[in-house]
Amino acid sequence: MTGLLGGIDPVVLVASLMVAAVPIMLAAIGELVAEKAGVLNLGVEGMMIIGAVCGFVGAVETGSPLAGFVAGAAAGAGLSLIFAGLTQLLLANQVATGLALTLFGLGLSSLIGQGYVGIKPPPTGDVPFGPLAGIPVLGTILFDHDPLVYVSVLMVAAVWAVLRFTRAGLILRAVGENHDAAHALGYPVQRVRLLAILFGGAMAGLGGATISLIRVPQWTDGITAGAGWIALAIVVFASWKPWRVLVGAYLFGGITVLQLNLQAAGARIPVEYLSMSPYLITILVLVVMSADRGRAALRAPAALGRNFHASR
């Protein structure tokens, strides 16, 4: 079995794919909340990379990785505020604004990160589970991780619970389904969407900070390499259901880790083909999921992407 995977231990593979999936899972669950409220934010890549650079700078300057994560989330939320202002208040086209956010975020992050290339950030330790981490197989997979791995899974669970069981979650879903009806019933559509967008931004920023502080860990231009776009694809793949985001993120994390390991192990497939495989597989998955027209149409929030203007 290990020979097939280029000499990789499958337990280590599973453990590392869980780590690799964290940034995308966080960004995707954040975007899921925004989309459930009816907002399509294509700026995930921009928010992630701003989170990556601000998280990095925050951690390096204060010496505390926790400060870094908080800074990353705050930066992502801050950037998403621009998106919220443009689309909710000024009624700008959501697709164009999301793209602008990404372009601006890429430029701004490069600017902020100017003096930080090549520096090592303070390390984020694993959560101490003590002897549990020593259990063969399960120990490595479940108990030997940095805190963000657990945070990401908790976030997915929290989002699922809030959307399913609370009134706030019901109102959010209603706004995403039919914003005119929600308005007629007296719910503050723009405020709900603003909060959803901010949540999405904070999650994307946190995911980005995870890349620069744990995954790599360092800062370079363009460090996210399209992770934000993958996160968007995962939301579609998940049919806007929180637990499926987990599955999708792990799947993608698995492919990424696998192809990196194959590259390192000197597998016979040329490097370029391996590095394009995650993107090609994402496309394939997208196509398969959207091909079932009827089902997909039912699951997407009906008001997704359309702006709301209270007329009278």
């Binding site: 009134r167 019901l170 109102i171 879903r173 209603a174 389904e177 039919n178 005119d180 009806a181 929600a182 007629a184 019933l185 007296g186 719910y187 009827g294 149409a297 039912l298 929030p301 009906a302 009278r312």
Partner: protein, 509 residues
């Protein structure tokens, strides 16, 4: 026996740029009274009611509820004081289930399990049974209205406002709804009933306030007036029924044979084995409440939805697999229900909108290039012939009032010298004089030899202009019968009867 006043309104005024929606409106509703708010489209009924429900703030005037000042700043404030509203265009969420929809309309809903139980009980008691777990998107229009009503009833309202509730009901369902409303009134709930359907108001309501152009023009007891008197109060002038021609009908121009189609939308109605035939010079009226397949039928006839080749035949030629422009070439024109967004592009000028459907039959495009001069002339002709009030043909479609835009849309289709005309809801949301003009135009076109299909929710309109009558129910079309001599009961049965509603079985007060 004077009942105490529940709601009073004094001098309510609301103006928007360009139009005064309500001007110095005053009236009073007593406890347990069924009060009608009567007026044609555009008279200001919706705005007045939005002020009562807290969706809109009046510019001037005041209201009291049971003696205390009443000025809700938002709907939840109105709900908290006991005012509930059933909207004309339902505020429902198709992808959520009945219980979730009801919870969203309530202030402090109980837990889902308890709510589901209460929905089951209350809906059954009032004769409007509902299953709390069903997705609203899967419900018929009448069932959706039940969700709206139950949502209100669960909050024990003192005042129930109903905005044009019967447009989605068959005559039998209307009767049952009225029984439910009378029960409610007997138990002390006042009802504010908004409508322009005179016979219903005469049958149901105790008092009526009549609005015209934003002002109160009369208050009366509807039962003491005839429908014609009420109509004249509403419109302000005498209306004449349109002139019908008695010319013999020609050959069959449009034939639909066993048409079955899936709906393009997630929650639409599929067409099942629809068959019809319309002769030249004949008007076929198709009745059916919303959600029974009207939109799908129009799309299937206009060519936006394709079907088997011989399922739709125009002058004998199979056209089912061809698109809209091929059908226009064959002589079929269509006017969809949705004026802004479907029949016309809101931000485009009238000239451009004339090009939209007239390109083929009016030869406005030569070798791919548009002849803008000819298009402008075509648009100007429509404006002139159909009395469309507009500063010019360069204005955007959305700048026109509903009635004028509808005149333009219908006029655009009729000006193309068509052989077959299909219209869906030709006078919905249109003021009385424009509506009369549109109906006369349709009759004139039929007299000139076209085969006309009118799909409408307005039974009075169909009885007035159609030669033959058929009903669309759940995607199935009944056999067509001559309109003359058809009774309201028979029509109701053709439309599907009562759809599961039953007489309310509450204890009488």
């Amino acid at each position: 026996m004077t009942r105490p006043a529940l709601l009073t309104a004094e001098g309510l005024t609301k103006a928007y740029p360009g139009v005064v929606a309500n001007s110095d409106v005053s009236f009073a509703i007593a406890e347990g009274e069924v009060h009608a708010l009567l007026g044609e489209n555009g008279a200001g009924k919706s705005t007045l009611v939005k002020m009562i429900y807290g969706l809109v703030k009046p510019d001037a005037g005041a209201m009291t509820l049971r003696g205390a000042p009443f000025a809700p700043s938002k709907p939840s404030a109105a709900r908290a004081r006991g005012v509930a509203m059933v909207f004309q265009h339902f505020s429902l969420f198709e992808a959520l289930n009945v219980a979730e929809n009801v919870a969203l309309g309530m202030e402090k809903p109980p837990r889902m399990g308890e709510l589901a139980g209460r929905i089951r009980t209350v809906s059954r008691d009032y004769g409007l049974p509902l299953d709390p777990d069903r997705l609203v998107g899967d419900l018929s229009a009448g069932e959706r209205q039940r969700v709206e009503i139950i949502r209100c009833l669960l909050q024990d309202p003192k005042l129930l406002i109903m905005d044009e509730p019967t447009s989605v009901l068959t005559p039998q369902e209307v009767d049952i709804l009225f029984q439910t409303l009378r029960q409610l009134a007997r138990k002390g709930t006042a009802i504010l009933y908004i409508s322009h359907k005179l016979e219903e108001i005469r049958s149901l309501c105790d008092t009526a306030t009549i609005l015209r152009r934003g002002k109160v023009v009369a208050s009366c007891t509807p039962r003491q007036k005839s429908a014609r008197e009420l109509a004249e109060l509403m419109v302000g002038k005498v209306l004449n029924a349109p002139a019908r021609s008695e010319a013999p009908k020609g050959a069959v121009a449009l034939e639909v044979a066993n048409l079955s189609l899936r709906s393009p939308g997630a929650f639409g109605t599929a067409l099942k084995g629809v068959s019809l035939a319309v002769r030249k010079g004949e008007i076929l009226g198709i009745a059916g409440v919303a959600g029974n397949g009207q939109d799908e039928l129009l799309l299937a006839l206009s060519g936006e939805l394709r079907s088997a080749r011989d399922a739709v035949r125009i002058d004998g030629a199979g056209m089912g697999d061809r698109g809209p422009n091929a059908r226009r070439r064959a002589g079929l024109v269509a006017a969809p229900e949705e004026r802004l967004g479907h029949a016309a592009a809101p931000d485009m000028s009238l000239t451009e909108n004339a090009l939209l459907s007239g390109a083929v039959r009016q030869a406005l495009v030569r070798r791919g290039f548009i002849d803008w001069r000819a298009t402008r002339a075509f648009a100007e002709g429509i404006v002139r012939d159909y009395d469309v009030r507009t500063p010019g043909v360069g204005v955007a479609a959305r700048a026109l009032s509903g009635g004028n835009l509808q005149k333009f849309v219908v006029g655009r289709e009729l000006s193309q010298d068509p052989g077959v005309v299909v219209v869906n809801q030709p006078t919905w949301g249109v003021d009385a004089s424009a509506a009369a003009a549109i109906r006369q135009a349709l009759i004139d076109r039929a007299a000139a030899g076209a085969a006309v299909v009118v799909i409408s929710q307005d039974l009075d309109e169909l009885i007035e202009i159609a030669d033959r009558f058929a009903a669309l129910n759940g995607g199935r079309l009944s056999a067509s019968r001559p309109t003359r001599g058809l009774s309201v009961d028979e029509i109701g049965l053709m439309m599907g009867g009562a759809h599961g509603m039953e007489a309310a079985h509450l204890d009488h007060a």
